[in-house]
Symmetry: C2
Subunit: 189 residues, 2 copies
């Protein structure tokens, strides 16, 4: 049975969100998967928050795998909406994958006090900075491992004119390859 991937991510906020969604779904097809992008349901775009929420939940329930764009959005970490969806799919017992165009560890993204054996690093507000060798909050990153998924961090060749690489196509492609390997392993097991 063909895997159905829910493509969570802040991609929906990009100026060219529809085109990004189209290309990511195309890459899924080429890899032998069906990709579900939140904007697929065009009728819902201008709908109420309640209808968009219901449409996204329906897509997540239909999907068999979560593929989450964890590239930092308006801060050093993942988009909270994406994190919510990752938790939703993890709780359903589905494998969740994460990918990011930002290869730095989380602690490297947040300015803070120096590392020490006695004190955890803290940001200028005094808040603790998670000091693990992880690319984001441990709940998100561990969910990938615990569910049988993977995390892929691949720096993108940013497109001309784009300040950041929020779509993270290179990391996304690496993630699809990892999913193909995992599902191949499973099918062959």
């Amino acid at each position: 049975m063909r895997a159905v991937l829910y493509l969570a991510g802040p991609d929906v906020f990009l100026p060219d969100a529809r085109e990004v969604g189209r290309r990511k779904r195309e890459l899924c097809r080429e890899a032998g998967f069906e990709g579900l992008f939140p904007l697929d349901n065009d009728a819902e775009i201008h709908a109420s928050p309640g209808r968009i929420f219901a449409a996204n939940c329906a897509l997540m329930r239909r999907a068999t795998v979560g593929v989450c764009n964890l590239t930092p959005f308006r801060g050093p970490g993942a988009d909270p909406g994406t994190a919510f969806e990752m938790g939703f799919m993890f709780a359903q017992g589905k494998p969740v994958f994460g990918y990011t165009a930002d290869c730095r560890l989380y602690r490297q993204r947040v300015p803070g006090t120096p590392r020490s054996a006695h004190e955890p690093p803290r940001d200028p507000d005094g808040y603790l900075i998670e000091d693990f060798d992880l690319i984001d909050n441990l709940m998100l990153t561990r969910a990938a491992d615990e569910s049988g998924g993977r995390l892929m961090a691949v720096a993108g060749s940013s497109s001309p004119g784009a300040g950041t690489d929020l779509a993270a196509f290179e990391a996304f492609s690496a993630c699809l390859a990892a999913i193909a390997t995992l599902l191949g392993d499973r099918a062959g097991a």
Copy 2:
């Protein structure tokens, strides 16, 4: 049966996280609930990410209600770890509540282009700003409503020396009152 509340939030990153957790659990007790705070499991604090993850998931599975501190953390929106846990508990079919000390709507927290009937507001990077009358990403905020929970935004009287009110005790107390009302309604129904 006494409701068991999982107290998700970036509180765990506060310099006085243990004390905040102790006070929140005490407030739960006074309201007739049992509160589970991620730091409760002291043995796990210095443990590996995998053990912390497993301990938090065990607490979430034991809890009957999610209570999520959505006060903005390192950006205009909720802590991604908290958002993950909200999605996890929502997917389990449990009521999820949110509270925040920041009463602004999400679009008021992000500098952007003026509102217009034709174009959604965009931030300086060109990314769309969700333009609903909601205090955070629609997935999080709708989950509260759809699950039978509530959102409580109450500005805190920030403590001396504290730049922000990340613990959001006033909003937390309002949230506990809302939970008591909801569960009372249910018990009486």
